[in-house]
């Protein structure tokens, strides 16, 4: 039996379920009273709060979609007023509008506890130095793990991302024992260390918690070898909370979901039907304790499956498989969510180009690269290389500011992007993940 941060992680299933049912019924009453969109949706479905008494009633409830958050931008779905809103975060959304999320004081406390559970599952305790190399800011990665370390009582080093040489100097000198960042960045740090002649025995890291983008078993092995650590997975999304919605334990066979706060379901993305244990489908979460932004049956668009099999670590929380893909066209590049449609909307505002583009995603070493091929409009007027370069530069600036990541732009001749059956193939992903 592994050490856990909270007792409930090893509670009997019937206790967890009873707690979920109680919290769900309270949550529905609360959002009915406070969130106009939910009152409207529940009324339309003919559901009164009193109709929801247990987890079994969950399928009666309507789904919530990312579009609902976009439509209510920025604070339309919040269930607290300003004086209770302690913190605001945001993630990338399509057409340049971010998805805005909020936290009450209690929400932040819960978040810290969820992330602490993940840290303990990775073997951390109060004596550890938690080195956080996720970006700090509106992105929930940095602060999420930071709060987790605070809640655990460990010593947090808030390095944020970038400046790899300095990261390595800090790893050597500050005695970091737990590394938190994206898996591709962890591999990059490892390779940079190797190039600098720094050995795993020169640093004190014993484990790492990596998430915010998909990664394979072979990447795990690579990271473990490069850094001399055990590498653990973590999952989350800002809308549901941030990192810590689920986390890997010593068994490393799936991630335990914090069911006392988030009730998971797997549904058929076409029909909305709830699928049985073990079947793959879209992951849906209901946030039963969140105060600022409680969501009912939020469709994550991640594809996964659930398992209630007993775990060797002793935890009784349900395990989710690492997400196997998306139900939409979102890409994750260097930890940032990118929607191909964002590019199209930028191209429509740019002179000299058509909205025909192709994204080529690859991995040079450990970091993702993204090249955007854009078809020139036949009307574009270039008689010098300088004019073409200016156009490329302007396009790159516009696309980078919308997507939030650096990209390469290549202007190509009209009609040169391959089309099959009339539809252009928009994304070529050469990464093996």
């Amino acid at each position: 039996m592994d050490r856990t941060f909270s007792e409930i992680e090893t509670a009997p299933r019937h206790e967890i379920r009873a707690l979920q049912s109680l919290r769900l019924s309270q949550m529905i009453r609360r959002v009915y009273d406070r969130v106009p969109l939910y009152r409207q949706r529940l009324d339309e479905a003919g559901i009164k709060p009193d109709d929801i008494r247990s987890v079994d009633d969950l399928p009666k409830l309507p789904f919530t979609y990312k579009q609902d958050l976009r439509d209510s931008y920025p604070y339309g779905l919040f269930a607290v007023d300003r004086s209770e809103l302690r913190e605001i975060h945001a993630s990338s959304g399509t057409t340049g509008k971010q998805t805005v999320v909020g936290y009450s004081a209690n929400d932040l406390k819960v978040w810290g506890e969820m992330a602490a559970r993940a840290l303990v599952a990775a073997g951390a305790d109060k004596t550890d130095y938690v080195h956080v190399s996720y970006g700090y800011g509106l992105f929930t990665g940095g602060l999420g793990l930071h709060y987790g370390a605070n809640t655990l009582g460990a010593s947090v080093i808030p390095v944020s991302s970038g400046n790899t040489a300095r990261q390595i100097q800090i790893l050597r000198d500050f005695g970091s024992t737990i590394l938190c960042c994206t898996p591709s960045y962890a591999a990059y740090i490892g390779e940079t260390m190797r190039d600098m002649g720094v050995k795993p025995s020169d640093i004190s890291l014993k484990a790492g918690i990596f998430g915010a983008e998909p990664w394979t078993e072979s990447m795990r092995v690579q990271i473990e070898e490069l850094l001399g650590i055990k590498a653990y997975d973590i999952y989350g999304l800002s809308e549901v909370m941030g990192p810590g919605v689920s986390y890997e334990c010593s068994a490393q066979s799936g991630m335990h979901i914090n069911e006392d706060h988030f009730i998971p379901e797997i549904i058929d993305p076409e029909t909305g039907e709830v699928l049985p244990e073990g079947e793959e489908g879209e992951l849906v979460f209901t946030c039963i304790t969140k105060e600022a932004l409680p969501l009912i049956r939020y469709r994550t668009r991640d594809v996964a499956s659930l398992s209630y099999e007993p775990c060797s670590c002793g935890r009784t929380f349900v395990k989710m498989k690492k997400p196997a893909g998306r139900t939409d066209d979102m890409l994750i590049i260097r930890g940032v969510n990118v929607f191909p449609s964002q590019i199209e909307s930028v191209l429509l505002t740019q002179p000299g180009v058509t909205p025909n583009y192709q994204i080529i995603v690859d991995r040079a070493g450990t970091l993702d690269t993204m090249e955007v091929l854009v078809e020139l409009s036949p009307e574009a007027a270039f008689d010098t290389v300088r004019l073409v370069e200016q156009r490329e530069k302007a396009l790159r600036a516009a696309i980078e500011s919308t997507l939030g990541i650096a990209v390469k732009i290549s202007l190509v001749a009209p009609k040169s992007i391959e089309r099959s059956e009339g539809k252009a193939k928009r994304v070529i992903d050469k990464r093996n993940i």
């Binding site: 036949p378 007027a381 270039f382 008689d383 010098t384 290389v385 073409v388 001749a413 009209p414």
Partner: protein, 143 residues
């Protein structure tokens, strides 16, 4: 009295240039002068042809990114210093040269030079004052 030059965007891929010259051939266009500015990924092909408007239409038909640009054409003596004199005139008048290419005439001992400048009117004025022969468009097109 500027010359119409056709510029065509060509990707740095095998067959790119051939596609352009094929399309010109199909439209019965005769090329008078040609130059290309190339980078790693693409080139800008510049052409003086016998019928620039017809050539432009042919390029559009074939889905090429093409444009017509007004450039200056001059005729200078085919001897050492022939070009240098013209460029000195432009430099003295602070006219900036964007690009330039030249070819020999078939009949007289004249070199023909195509120059893209930042100020066509200004350039024409100073060149004429210095006694440098400006080419009429028809002279080039009908060579």
């Amino acid at each position: 009295m500027t010359i119409k030059q056709l510029s065509v965007f060509a990707e740095n891929k095998s067959g790119s240039l051939a596609k352009i010259t094929d399309a010109l051939e199909k439209a019965h266009i005769d090329i008078r002068a040609l130059s290309i500015a190339d980078t790693t990924n693409f080139g800008i092909l510049r052409l003086i042809v016998d019928d620039p408007d017809k050539a432009y239409d042919a390029m559009k038909e074939a889905d090429f990114t093409a444009t017509l640009t007004d450039v200056i054409g001059i005729g200078v003596p085919d001897e050492p210093g022939g070009l240098a004199k013209a460029l000195r005139v432009l430099e003295d008048a602070s006219v900036s040269v964007e690009y330039i290419y030249a070819f020999l005439g078939v009949h007289d001992r004249t070199a023909y030079v195509i120059i893209r400048v930042d100020d066509n009117d200004g350039a024409e004025k100073v060149l004429e004052s210095a006694g440098i022969r400006l080419l009429r468009p028809e002279e080039l097109y009908n060579m």
